[in-house]
């Protein structure tokens, strides 16, 4: 298996546009460490292409941005690219970070006792607030930043050489720091943002190998 990352970047609605825009940090970090990174952009994020790329490149880490539910993670236009029932083995022996709703409770749990695989995701709906003013330029949205940069810490920390458990905890710790920060700032959105960050903090789960490294 190769030290490398496959990153999905669907952009077919506002939610996926935000997830993909904030993934730029992950791309830069991988480049900075000279770690191979394969981007699957927009229409490329379909099941056929995803399976082909994973099998061909055999990268150790997969970062999935997209909609999802307990059993499935979607790519472009809601097409399911990983399914608990159909192709979970595609994630076996790898580290997967799924920024996708609830997939840790079904698909991810499949790897709970698998010490050769690590799955980090959410067993609640991953959520974030964004400011309508910045939808054409998501990266400048400081509200969304609180959610997406803290969740980015899972792959960023793995890229830095930390293990799966340390990376999982770093992201969660940053979520708490952000909650503290917004509550201290006492803006009109403080409570709404803090509660949503808490949802992601409580919902983030690690299944499988806790000491896996990229």
């Amino acid at each position: 298996m190769k030290k490398g990352i496959i990153l999905t970047l669907p952009k077919y609605d506002l939610v996926t546009q935000y997830l993909s825009a904030f993934s730029g940090q992950i791309e830069m970090a991988a480049e900075g460490k000279s770690i191979f990174l394969k981007r699957l952009n927009e229409k490329e994020v379909n099941r056929k292409e995803f399976e082909k790329v994973v099998k061909k490149l055999d990268c150790k880490m997969i970062v999935l941005n997209g909609h999802g539910n307990e059993d499935n993670i979607a790519g472009d236009n809601d097409e399911i690219i990983v399914s608990k029932e159909e192709n979970p083995e595609i994630l076996r022996d790898r580290i997967t970070y799924a920024r996708s709703c609830e997939a840790a409770s079904g698909l991810g749990e499949k790897f709970a006792k698998d010490q050769k695989t690590c799955f980090i995701g959410y067993d609640l709906p991953f959520e974030f607030y964004f400011d309508d003013e910045w939808v054409t330029n998501p990266i400048k949205d400081n509200t969304a930043r609180l959610f997406l940069e803290s969740s980015n810490l899972v792959p960023l920390s793995l890229i830095k050489g930390n293990n799966s458990s340390e990376s999982h905890e770093r992201a969660k710790k940053q979520m708490l720091k952000n909650i503290k920060k917004v509550l201290r700032n006492q803006t009109k959105e403080s409570f709404a943002v803090a509660e949503s960050l808490w949802n992601n903090y409580v919902g983030q789960r690690l299944h499988g190998n806790k000491t896996y490294k990229l």
């Binding site: 979607a74 974030f128 309508d132 959105e189 808490w198």
Partner: protein, 81 residues
């Protein structure tokens, strides 16, 4: 009797969640949550009023937070940082 009591409790919870959304969410913000398109504050309130799938998830999330607050879990997590 039990059914009426539960209906009343459900209605009180629904009203509480609507009041929380109304007071906490500024109109410039949208919420991305679950496998659904993003929602404005008014759309969130509408889902909660209807009691549809996403409305139930919004209520569940508010209750999760309130329980964490009541149990002290939220406060102790924040204090640990």
């Amino acid at each position: 009797m039990t059914e009426n009591y539960e209906d009343n409790v459900d209605e009180r919870i629904r009203k509480t969640v609507i009041a929380r959304i109304d007071s906490q969410v500024p109109s410039n913000l949208k919420l991305a949550m679950g496998n659904y398109p993003s929602m404005t504050k008014d759309e969130m309130i509408e889902h909660v009023k209807k009691g549809d799938e996403i409305g139930k998830k919004i209520i569940k999330r508010h209750l999760l937070f309130l329980r964490s607050l009541a149990s002290g879990e939220f406060t102790s997590a924040i204090a640990s940082i």
